[in-house]
Symmetry: C2
Amino acid sequence: MSDKDVTKKLAAWIVGCRLDDIPTPVREEGVRTFFNWMGCAVGGARHETVDRALAGITPFAGKPQATVIGRGERLDVPNAALVNGISSHVLDYDDTHLKTIIHPAGPVASALLAAAEYHPLSGRDFLNALIVGVEVECRIGNSVYPDHYDRGWHITGTTGVFGAAAAVGHMLKLDERQMTWALGIAATQASGLREMFGTMCKSLHPGAAARNGALAAFLAQAGFDSSLQSIEAPRGFANVLSTKQDYEEILGGLGERWEAGLNSYKPFACGIVIHPTIDGCQQLREELGTDVGRIAAVRLRTNPLVLELTGKREPKTGLETKFSVFHAAACALLRGDGSPTAFTDEAANAPELIALRRKVEATSDPSIHEASVVIEVEFEDGRRIERVIERAIGSHDRPLSNEQLERKFAHQSALVVGTEVTDRLMALCWRLPELADVGEIARASVPAGLRDAAE
Amino acid sequence: MSDKDVTKKLAAWIVGCRLDDIPTPVREEGVRTFFNWMGCAVGGARHETVDRALAGITPFAGKPQATVIGRGERLDVPNAALVNGISSHVLDYDDTHLKTIIHPAGPVASALLAAAEYHPLSGRDFLNALIVGVEVECRIGNSVYPDHYDRGWHITGTTGVFGAAAAVGHMLKLDERQMTWALGIAATQASGLREMFGTMCKSLHPGAAARNGALAAFLAQAGFDSSLQSIEAPRGFANVLSTKQDYEEILGGLGERWEAGLNSYKPFACGIVIHPTIDGCQQLREELGTDVGRIAAVRLRTNPLVLELTGKREPKTGLETKFSVFHAAACALLRGDGSPTAFTDEAANAPELIALRRKVEATSDPSIHEASVVIEVEFEDGRRIERVIERAIGSHDRPLSNEQLERKFAHQSALVVGTEVTDRLMALCWRLPELADVGEIARASVPAGLRDAAE
């Protein structure tokens, strides 16, 4: 495909896309995307990363226009977008566009919901803008992945800013020229380094993308201009931040094939490479019953990425446990847990988990698919059983059902805001397309006591 | 030099640098850097780029903590930093670190002065932090220039965010660990594409660098952590954004050789490549008197970069005139003007300037230095005179004197805030090292009528 006017053509599509043009399965996936994002944002709301971000920015925040999800504070739109982008990503539990490892909702939903509390928006219009934003960031991601990611860019930050700009620009009803500017203002703010993985800055990336993308849309609305070829120009986004530029991935089949329909949701609060192991160990736990106490050895045959990324033998902190396939296997076998509570400082230092994880061995086998694992458990009496996971739960071939999404939401949200708020919030999220004012959902994420305190 | 702990060692130097450690000439250059920045920020304050930025962000701005230079508005610290960064760069009239083409003051002074209105700061401490910030951004720039710039990064944006973080972090008295985090939070926000040249987004870059760098320091102060090797890590700033990484440029001779002492100031409000031509034509104008009306032809022999970057024959707008060496020559000969008023829509369309610029020819000659030009003027009667500029005014070998800096400041500032405010403001800027509270300078940039209106 010619590299001419990629940005303008994409902007024209964004401006023209209506909810009725979007196929029903993609709309349904949009609701699931939002539902999962909200559960993660509530689940992460009390993380110390969020506390420290709030401590840093609150002295400079503007009018109380938008809700910090799951908490009492209210901030101006860009700052609320920033904080909600952080909290929705901080537990590594959010959604994944598997082709690019983009976590799509963090930048887009965080920007959009904050903006929607300022410019009231119906659920239908919100869903439309959300799907457009996710589509834009994933398509731009496809056009530069994997080279862009391999170079060291955290693709959720670099493409998320486009998604947020597109979504907020759609809700603001920018015209084509303004939308082209908004994409340009987004392009020139694209940032986020993979070096930050394992630090608080990793979660800053979707937050900053949400804030900067929303500002791009508001600036473009105010007539702040930009390049009209920000994606495809020789010194534009794709050429400067990547060695690969495939514009067919951006413009091909727009409105026909939908990246937004391919979103997936993590069943476990850690990197995707150890999901097959957790899935298999949870299944084995069901089968073993009390035999779990008599395990002599656990042997994993895994894709080589598993040991490359999660080969930490003796994790000392909750954060470090996310990078230990040994811990993850032990915790799934002993506690059946792969949720955020499996990756805490307590879990890292629990004697029974330490004892079992030291019995876990892992070998790399290039013939094993990334979504697969072979697990052998040997007991003290010499008996052995094996479990083969062909495709882990949460992967594209075994998506989480709505019921599983609800269990995931309820488990993490109840720990932060209690079951009553959680139940009401989940019901509201499912009803997204019917709501007259989606800001209602944001406000419903805050327990009444905190709400009163903030007012 | 080993690439180990570059970021930590730089942070340790930042934290420990005291004003008394800085040689007098570098301190004096620091005052000139600040003086020139302030003149440019006032000069650009009413540009429509600034109007539109304010229109876009004001609905979300926080408490009135800091002054929008030269105007009545007051914004929260990060937003004031953003807007002042824009206005100080929008006329292309600011300072230049010639080795890297970084415009150092925009990100650093904009962040620092806004922060100093919130956390009152003496002139000595301000000057200390300013010089440290400029030193940091220019050294990081040296370590990746020219590869980084050639790839398409607007280096003022990408390195300016480090400078702003270092300066604000210095004034906040961050400890070494916090300063290392601040540099990391800056690194992962580094952005700005050269594709934006010729659009409002070019000025957004120093503005965003100022805002994001200030926030990096405030976040680090609040305990928001980051990588400890953000500059040198395999997936850190230098490797991801450049093919060249020369860490000796960052750590070598710290506190001994000073990049901050090499700052230069544009005498003309356009790209540096046409400065020799304007300089020569202004000199010829003095010599020619009324003969200027009898010019038949002007022939320029220039460095090849001149036609590559500024070869526009028929500029239609003020912005376009900045990319026309023909216009610049004509305007310098006829009006003696190379200031912002030479690059307006009026000038672009003035019949007498159009007539003369059509008589200007330029040829590329690789033997001509970038700071040089040979100008031949031929009159209607066949007479010819020639002027050779070996080194243009404002270049490293012919720096602007303090008096010339004052004329530059006064000319642009008086058009925006009048002569009375301008005179008082200039006097205050020169007295920077003696002031008890530098916020006084920011407030003095606003005419009394506007100040009252905002309060």
